[in-house]
Symmetry: C2
Subunit: 183 residues, 2 copies
């Protein structure tokens, strides 16, 4: 049967799942499509992930981790001397510019939690992490509000094909931040 020893099989399946969602959306995610993308037999995907929900949970978690690294690497959020609203607005602009496959992938998995309870803990984890990160620059209430507003702005751009207006984003993000707490 030409079985190959492949200790990272599980990881490769997750990577393939992320690529599939990026290209065809969640609607195109199936055990078979992932198997084809990962170049493994069907039985392998069903063995490692009995349910598609399991696979999506793993994919969303991994996407979140990768994203968190990008944020951390950018720094800026840590430095209390930078303009927080401007920093966030610029960061969103960077994120929304160019190829949006990654953005759409992130949001599609994130929003899938609306109908798939299995994904909710992961979505919750993500929102909490980002809010906590922002809490280093402001109070928790403001941090939560910033996350919400950023989500809303991104969605309006993504859902309505409207261009991203960085000045506008900076302006309204700034309004949410109390003057006293500004860097």
């Amino acid at each position: 049967m030409a079985r190959r020893y492949d200790p990272e099989r599980r990881q490769r399946i997750i990577d393939a799942a992320i690529r599939v969602v990026g290209q065809k959306g969640i609607a195109g995610l199936s055990h078979r499509s992932v198997a084809a993308e990962a170049d493994v037999p069907l039985g392998s995907t069903t063995y490692h992930f009995t349910t598609l929900d399991e696979l999506m949970v793993a994919a969303l978690r991994q996407a979140n981790e990768g994203f968190a690294k990008v944020i951390a690497a950018r720094g800026g959020l840590e430095d209390p001397h930078t303009d927080l609203a401007g920093e966030l607005a610029g960061w969103m602009g960077e994120w929304l510019a160019g190829d949006r496959t990654g953005v759409e992938l992130e949001y599609e998995l994130y929003l899938a939690a609306l109908r798939r309870p299995a994904l909710r803990p992961v979505a919750d984890e993500w929102a909490r992490d980002l809010a906590e990160r922002l809490s280093r620059r402001t109070d928790p209430v403001t941090a939560r509000a910033l996350v919400a507003l950023m989500d809303g702005i991104c969605l309006q751009v993504l859902l309505t094909d409207a261009p991203y207006d960085e000045a506008y984003a900076r302006e309204v993000l700034g309004r949410v931040i109390p003057r006293a707490a500004e860097g």
Copy 2:
């Protein structure tokens, strides 16, 4: 073939589609499931809506219209003497309380625009309408920001199972509204 003359057939199919999405989500939407729900033969749904996208567009549009009526009926948004932030926060609370089938239905169709370009014009229309409605109480920039923030707050509640905190919502919505423009 026992054909029945049914001039409102098309409308009934749309209603059925909305019920199906509410109960089983977009993933459960198919020509057959809608046909069963509407109690019409399969050929009838494929005749009136060649594509499922067409059906979703009609469903989203109808859901938006129904929602707009609810907003309009509530008044409050028109009266310049009410606290706008409090009004919006209370309205979200009302909306998120109790049975969330309707809320989830709305958002699922709305968010589906992320991957289905056919839905984007309808999503755009909805966002514009709401923003314009809010523009009667503030400037357009603030109105857009309010819509974004409300979307973000609702999503966090729906995606993470977090309870809705009306005081918090009122507080941060209030921050977005410039003092000079407050009612």
